[in-house]
Symmetry: C2
């Protein structure tokens, strides 16, 4: 049986995956300590009727060691050097399950999900950009997930957009995320207007509110340049755009795609731009498929 787990900063989702689809799932607020989370996974597996040999893919926020699968550092969870796979094995010891656990960074797992059975299905080379509060993403090159040398995966949101530009939450300046991440759109808008609105609300107001229009114009410009960067550096066939902000802001992906194609210009091949298909299931499904 095949199961996927998505551990984010606030939630934990466990689902059974059959034929690349989630057929059953549970969702809870995520526990604080690794052994609580391992217990949550063990009870979810029982609840979902796991038995016999279980392939379990866990997508977890943070940096995962490509060799050992340990969670090296997860700022969202406050974990350092955690062997979650071992904890889950301990927590399921008396159940008689034969567990085969695979750990992956949650964003990498989501990229893999989109590659295997989402918008990128059938391609060999894709990049994915997920725009939410922050900007994450990743690469699949020649059918392989790019994990990078230190297990951080692709930090596409923290590549530079504007030298010496806006201060980013990562401590650097001018990152793509500092212009187009949800937090940045909201912060720039608040600075201009004194009003605190959600990025998607700012999007909705952009026709009548010049500040909203300006903030989003800047964000779209940043995202279009991020797509250009990805296609110049790795020449992917497709860039998949996803994440909560892309889902909630109708038409955003099209505007980014159009601005990107304008930037690419004549005589160059632009990558296809597609909208992510798996939305909230991407990490869960991708992690499960990585465990097979």
């Amino acid at each position: 049986m095949l199961f996927g787990v998505d551990i984010g900063g606030s939630h934990i989702r466990v689902g059974r995956v059959v034929a690349e689809r989630v057929v059953q799932r549970t969702e809870k607020a995520v526990g604080k300590s690794p052994d609580t989370v391992a217990q949550q996974i063990a009870s979810a597996l029982a609840e979902l009727g796991a038995s016999g040999t279980v392939h379990l893919g866990i997508g977890c926020a943070g940096r995962i060691c490509p060799q050992t699968g340990k969670v090296l550092f997860s700022p969202n969870l406050g974990w350092r050097d955690v062997d979650l796979a071992a904890e889950v094995e301990r927590a399921t010891q008396k159940t008689g399950l034969q567990l085969l656990v695979t750990m992956e960074n949650d964003v990498n797992a989501a990229v893999w999900g989109e590659f295997r059975c989402g918008a990128g299905k059938g391609k060999r080379n894709i990049a994915a950009v997920f725009v939410g509060t922050g900007i994450g993403g990743g690469l699949v090159i020649e059918g392989k997930l790019v994990r990078g040398a230190s297990g951080g995966g692709a930090e596409v949101g923290h590549a530079p957009f504007a030298a010496g530009g806006a201060r980013c939450v990562c401590g650097r300046r001018g990152c793509f995320e500092a212009y187009a991440g949800g937090w940045a759109v909201e912060a720039h808008y608040e600075k201009m207007t004194g009003k605190r609105l959600k990025a998607s609300e700012i999007w909705t107001r952009r026709r009548e509110d010049p500040s909203a229009a300006k903030v989003w114009r800047q964000a779209i410009e940043a995202l279009a340049h991020l797509l250009l960067t990805l296609s110049a550096i790795v020449d992917v066939e497709m860039v998949v755009l996803g994440g909560g902000i892309v889902e909630r802001c109708e038409g955003l992906a099209d505007e980014v795609a159009s601005a990107y194609r304008d930037l690419v210009g004549d005589g160059w091949r632009a990558a296809d731009v597609a909208i992510a298909k798996l939305t909230r299931d991407a990490t869960l499904v991708g992690a499960a498929l990585l465990a097979l």
Copy 2:
């Protein structure tokens, strides 16, 4: 026997490679037509004593089809859709040689050379940035050369540095190359001073000439941001800096490395920065090693 060929816009070099080194070589001005070039390769092979089974790797400026090995388009040579391997086989038909030809983009071949037996030897993930008149480069990820979806390889010089910035020879604006390629350094300096000097001469004058200092400060900033882009997007262990400008401008690589480390900042792992080792042999050696 193992041979490598480097076909640039002006030269053709053929060399015999033994134990990752060029032991014998010829160099000529490159012919115009594919069959002239094929003849040049055939005579070079005879001159260098080729016999029996010959593994021949050809690094050629332009876009090479990853499937067929054809030269899809080479602006420098003025070629479109050329099957050079077939031409070389024809030109050597009566020699009794058993030819096994592999074609690769010249910059990709050079990246591979640095990876296999140059500055990147022993690493698994590297990026290379070659600064000459233009800026080329490429990626090796998990020990594999990244060719990209359309055979252009990594166009690192044409990733964006400054949105809407300086006009580039590629037709776009704000490319890294438009700030740090040799032609750009020379053009910016000429615009400021009215004087036409070589990029390496401008480098030498930068202590006493404020315009020279300014132009190179800008170029170093662009190169440092290019390294940051590469390490954020693909998390490589090492970036190899090479090319004629890096070779001729003493101290440039160190200044770029230092500016890059400043940009990376605390709490992030900076990639190692190394200077290319194979210099003018990189394409020849890399192409040969790809043919094995």
